[in-house]
Symmetry: C2
Subunit: 340 residues, 2 copies
């Protein structure tokens, strides 16, 4: 059993205890060099008898690799960046890598500062993430280590970015509505200046056209990302497009607002009106009455894939360009098959 080490126990002590030189001890523990199996075992035993824990700092200095990556997030509050970061941390952590967390708080100066300290710490790579899917300018001075932009892509298409396939997600949502027999589909989104709102709506419009369905009001309704806007949009629809039988909302908050207002106006969901949201945010989908069908961007999976891309780049196999991560459709009561 390992003794409680009073101070830090070093490789030299392990070597001494095993009766070999420091170099040999190092090789024994790292499966390098050639030596008798018995020797290797003896070193190993000594190591854990003494409770040896390698000094990562010293090793980094020698090898030039820190087994550390920096994760810069532009937004703090980040409903979206959080799951991405967890995904990143998950695969990196399993791969013996540690993650340095940097919250730039939408401040380019802060971002610069963090970039400097990360490089000073000799990180092996950097992941950049953010609040929205609008492209952002690349990191100030091109860092000498690989960079992957996750969720929020770099404006430079030669950089490596990975983003949710929002367009495919929107298509999926609309197709689902058509599949359950709806033909008069309303589209409600957030602000048109947001890339997410535009991307989702553009594809939704195309898909509706492809499927010979109709767009309620003739075009998407752009507003905000709030429940209040969802409620307001519902009132607009009731007035201007009373025959609407389905709504695709660009966020779950909007969807919940729509559902609430429609229910209060006497519409039955999903019988009179099927509703699909976006984000698959459990807080909203579960509390809504009825629970919401929604598109899940699988942000944690996206984060994991971002980490894979980074690891691959660190290993010398960079994959440039913008990568799309698929969305999933999660069906709940708000689009349950028409009950008879």
């Amino acid at each position: 059993m390992p003794e409680a080490p009073l101070a830090r126990v070093t490789l030299a002590e392990v070597a001494a205890s095993a009766g070999v030189s420091v170099g040999t001890a190092s090789k024994a523990l790292n499966d390098r060099g050639s030596m008798r199996a018995e020797t290797r075992a003896r070193v190993r035993q000594a190591a854990d008898r003494l409770g040896f824990q390698i000094d990562a700092v010293a090793r980094s200095l020698q090898t030039g690799r820190s087994y550390t990556v920096g994760m810069i997030t532009t937004d703090s509050i980040g409903r979206f960046s959080i799951p991405v970061m967890l995904g990143v941390e998950d695969t990196l952590g399993s791969g013996q890598m540690s993650v340095l967390l940097c919250d730039a708080r939408d401040d380019r100066i802060r971002e610069q500062y963090y970039l400097k300290t990360l490089l000073s710490r000799r990180v092996d790579g950097i992941i950049v993430t953010g609040r929205r899917t609008d492209p952002r300018p690349p990191l100030a001075q091109r860092p000498p280590v690989p960079v992957v932009y996750a969720f929020m892509p770099s404006a430079d298409p030669d950089d490596c970015s990975i983003v949710p396939d929002e367009a495919a997600g929107a298509a999926r949502a609309v197709t689902h509505l058509v599949d359950i027999g709806r033909r008069n589909i309303a589209l409600v989104a957030g602000p048109e200046r947001h890339h997410s709102a535009r991307a989702r709506m553009t594809t939704a419009v195309e898909t509706i056209a492809d499927q010979d369905a109709e767009i309620a009001c003739g075009e998407p309704l752009f507003g905000e990302w709030s429940e209040a806007w969802g409620r307001q949009a519902a009132r607009i629809l009731l007035r201007r497009a009373p025959h609407t039988d389905a709504v695709f909302c660009a966020s779950d908050q909007i969807a919940r607002g729509v559902v609430d207002a429609m229910r209060e106006a006497g519409k039955r969901v999903p019988r009179d009106l099927a509703v699909v949201g976006f984000d698959n945010w459990d807080v909203m989908t579960a509390a809504s009455r009825p629970p919401l069908t929604s598109i899940d961007m699988d942000l944690e999976g996206l984060g994991r894939q971002a980490a894979e891309l980074l690891l691959s780049a660190i290993d010398g196999h960079p994959r440039h360009g913008v990568h799309l991560h698929p969305c999933r459709l999660t069906i709940r009561a708000s689009t349950a098959e028409d009950e008879d």
Copy 2:
């Protein structure tokens, strides 16, 4: 202007460029040793002319300090731990410290593993945080560096923990209801096995007694942390305590459920029924109709204070025991003064 460094520029190059020895260059940049002001300046100039960035790894090896702290969170999703972590990162980041993120995902094995790698990286200290305010067993083997438990306290009172003052927050909420003239106050909480639910309710009960008000149904209603439970609780109250004129809910989600169900039952909020929530979670407080008055645990501030406590301990001034971080009352329409 700094030249773009092809490779990493080292202190030796700076020294050479300034015409001094490496040691002197180091002292010049760190304001150590004694030398002519002109020499110091010359070194400084050489440093930023060459774009010198100190190698934090090499410095750590020499000084034994890494200017890095580990942050272990037991829960991933963490509505609560996220703001705490941001607060921690904020004050640590300003203090030249970097934060290593470790998501233990409620797994003791994982936690152990992370602890090992953190120590291997020679962190100067560790912050532990988690999902709930229930005390947790202390870190497995007592680490040789300071530890601060934030939000989720250590079961060992000799450890340094900082938690929100939920009791004071609950008292504040109830007092506010009394202040606006309510006397029949219902209490609705999450599961009784949760420390948060018990702590908030215990103090609420005491405060109501102190203020000569009444508890609707005679005792707190324990349930879940969901909107659905809030709605159910509202129905119970309508049936069993129709004279209730105020509700203190142990979470904003519950509060929103209560408000929704009460409104749908024809009660006017706040005229007939004032409602206070807990957490001040903008998603809930803003979307509720009317917007919710709530208790804010100031988790980011708590995180900042946790970081201060850790820095202080690292500097050799540990502050043992459980520290309470005050809650704030944020008043919104759900308890607006009785309009006449």
